[in-house]
Symmetry: C2
Subunit: 368 residues, 2 copies
């Protein structure tokens, strides 16, 4: 389906593993929760006549946002006691929706707000944020965390790196152009879905004012490590150069300027659709596994905790980069070898490794 055109092969880990392995992603959402509750408190009174609807886009298995959603329900009920609440969880159609529903309905490892609140209606959508998920003017709060760096398509392979942070020249320009178009497409769809006076709280990976980004905040550059290990695999003929290039991650980290541009240019269709920037700041949430290592000092434990958090989001792309001419077991083995190499590297020299989260926290309003 073209309208749900997340690049094929991208899936977060299923079976509820995503939320368990991504403690940091949950910390990021917890840090953003006051922006959500403030946004709810600022909604026009008239918009809350029939109910309150929050859309959580790119939610994976919904585990990381359960606490945020509970606080959003409380905020809406403060505005209007007993207001019926609809929570719409969405992700691309190959997401693990069974894990998502299990987590929300209390069949997974988490407590669910459904045990605390009546008249809350969780709904799920398999439509990606590159299409319209909800009907026109039906959403009060659109939320998304750590999701919109995934581009709608991989515009090209990157010759000498696995991520656009290492791209140069024409390849970088192509990724940048794709990212700018995708960001506008995301916002334009959201403008249609939002009620007048509704708000977006979007927490996205960013390249901050000091050039820092995910896993690159002064220590070892995580993406360069990804890349170096794969280049070693090429040098050792364990994978081909073509496979390496096919592993290019379809991601881009916008700067603050890039995030703001369509919201501040009166000629931009996004601006003309009524979206306005209310707030943006960048924040770092420390890698919980590196922080924990600083206390316990056990390099093996650090490596064993850190590698799974990386695997949740890049394993499926690396795997799909491998030639389908290889037997599946061989492809699986290469992936295992890759993460084992990375794990050994961290065990041997743990200092500086880690995946600090660098996000832009944005609040965007739709003119009432």
């Amino acid at each position: 389906m073209s309208e749900s055109s997340h690049s094929e092969g991208i899936t977060m880990s299923g079976g509820g593993v995503y939320s368990l392995a991504t403690l940091g992603a949950r910390h990021v959402i917890d840090a953003a929760t006051p922006l959500v509750t403030d946004a709810i408190h600022s909604l026009p009174e008239a918009s809350l006549a029939a109910g309150f609807t929050l859309s959580d886009m790119g939610t994976a298995d919904a585990g990381t946002s359960l606490t945020m959603v509970a606080q959003a329900i409380e905020a809406a009920r403060t505005r209007r006691p007993g207001i019926p609440v609809t929570i719409v969880y969405s992700d691309q159609p190959r997401n693990d929706f069974n894990a998502l529903v299990a987590n929300v309905h209390g069949l997974g490892p988490f407590e669910t707000y459904l045990d605390r609140f009546d008249d809350v209606f969780p709904l799920v959508s398999g439509t990606s944020f590159y299409a319209r998920i909800m009907p026109p003017e039906s959403v009060h709060i659109g939320f998304s965390a750590t999701a919109m760096h995934w581009l709608s398509a991989k515009i090209c392979n990157i010759s000498n790196h696995v991520q656009a942070v290492g791209a140069e020249g024409e390849e970088l320009a192509a990724f940048r152009a794709q990212a700018h178009a995708d960001w506008r497409r995301i916002l334009h769809h959201r403008a249609a879905e939002l009620k007048p006076g509704g708000k977006l709280v979007l927490i996205n990976f960013a390249r901050d004012e000091q050039g820092r980004y995910l896993g690159n905040t002064g220590g070892v550059n995580m993406f360069d490590t990804f890349n170096r290990i794969w280049l070693d695999f090429v040098a050792q003929n364990r994978i081909t150069r073509e496979e390496y290039q096919n592993m290019t991650l379809p991601q881009y980290y916008n700067t603050v300027e890039e995030f703001c541009a369509p919201l501040q240019d009166p000629d931009d269709p996004v601006y003309q659709a009524g979206l306005r920037l209310e707030h943006i700041d960048t924040r770092i949430v420390k890698c919980p596994f590196a922080e924990s290592f600083a206390e316990h000092g056990d390099a093996a434990r650090f490596a064993d905790e850190y590698i799974p958090t990386i695997r949740t989001w890049n394993e499926s792309i690396y795997y799909s980069g491998l030639s389908s001419a290889r037997p599946e077991a061989e492809r699986r083995q290469i992936i295992e070898d890759y993460y084992a190499t990375y794990r050994d590297l961290v065990r041997t020299a743990p200092a500086g490794h880690g995946m600090d989260y660098v996000h832009a926290y944005m609040v965007i309003s739709k003119q009432a």
Copy 2:
């Protein structure tokens, strides 16, 4: 979760198998589609101002209703060209939602209406029809086919049969009381969800005016066959009597009178909530595999096609009836042996076997 209290262990076959193996279930929905489109044509004009919402409850993997939904969208667009359409698919939280989303988004074996229509928003809910799935007054058409015979809980085991059609005395009375309470609970929740003037089109297994029901329309009684094979397994000590009794299917087939009662009694809370019976009839949709056998005459093929359609809906209950003290492989083997015995029985003496569908087709309106 008490509010989604479908008996544990009940799941339809996953992975898209349900819709492929249940051709008959699709024929039933096709037969009901004119009731849906007529209901849409009768909706109050004012209710269609902001959009149209159809709720498909107990949808399993959504494959059997794709054509009905497409015709519902067309009917709504005839009423109001370009009207945004929301389709809410729901089933109990252990349903295979990955298969459901795949089917709706065109990643499964079926064509999807999403390729034909813009501004259609499919949503999914893991809330069972024994709770409120949608916010108050948000649904135009509530649809359900071949789902509401599943009781909210198994009130007791049946001593000498696997289904209430073979129950007697106090056990029958207990099932009947449970079914009556469940039917009222289902309708009461739907009354809250429906917009004024909205309609329910409910297609449910029934015991018809001549006492016929699923798999019992004049030939071999399917449920008696189920029961006889399990009793043989008890006699052969392949399962215990306790396991046999735990296999009791938590189902009940209402008569027309039982379906109508809460909609015609002015003292009933369902009636008082504004629900009124507009239409009820009973129909038989012939077993497609028995019909096909009448043409091809190949008993082995008939058996191979017929048994899977049964497995889709009763395998999980039989399996969960087996003692957890048995190793899983042993339990699996008993289940395989059971269906193999049934298959051999059909192969040897195919005449009269088959699963004719006996349904009540109801249209219920909520007073405007």
